[in-house]
Amino acid sequence: MSIALDTLSVGQEIGSATIEVSRADLVRYAGASGDFNPIHWNGRFADQVGLPGVIAHGMFTMGAAVQVVTDWIGDPGAIVDYQTRFTKPVVVEDVDGPGARIEVTGAVGAIDEANGTVRVDLTVTAAGQKVLVKAQAVVRTR
């Protein structure tokens, strides 16, 4: 939107959030995305394939983490490029209420004055471990 590039500096924090995740959230994401892989809802299956438990869809975490960028820029359509690597699974416990908490912090990673874009680097952790690496969103500022 109308963020003045000359007011930004690399490393500046743009926002942070805690995302609470329950088993119901994974079922909702499975339905909305069409990804019904049982590792995201069936504990027995997750055990059989050697996972530490039912894990969140990587795409759930990626999709939810970008909200801090949307909140900052004010227009989700300004996010023109968004990428990540998935490094650790987010284990979602079978409990009443949140079974995992994902912590997200965004910071200015690079400023491209010529193209009017800013790269926001996201730090995304769960249970003290980085679950996304090289999570970067490029936003158009004009």
């Binding site: 909305a32 999709g63 359509g77 996010i79 990428q83 990540t84 690597r85």
Partner: protein
Amino acid sequence: MSEHAGVNPDLAGRVYPAGETYTVGRETIREFARAVKATHPAHFDVEAARSLGYRDLLAPPTFAIIIAQRADAQLVQDPAAGIDFSRVVHAEQRFVHHRPIVAGDELVAELHVDQVRAMGGGAMITTRAEISTVDGDKAATTTSSILVRGEGQ
């Protein structure tokens, strides 16, 4: 098991042509937005979307994964590919948006297998879905890397 975890290394360079048209619906956008806990009004309220210059409800930044994974299914389910889906882990994902995806769009995806490489005892497969409108306007390019785990991975 081979060094590619049974995956056919000759897949690289293969192109799966655009399949069925995917029509982007308002309720689908709303449901997807709720599912990723996206709260911006442009995903829910048509007037809010229009006030930002969009023709209709705006899809969230990762919405195109629905279309990309439908395209990927052509590869994963291709018996000639040799992919054991129960051993697949999503390793990397990227979305490049050429224009916003909004409700009412009719989209198709052409799937390119860009790379197949051995990794440990498994295989890393990188695919690219070129998503465009049925009229041929480029909408988004999604790139996905999946790891097919080998024995002991």
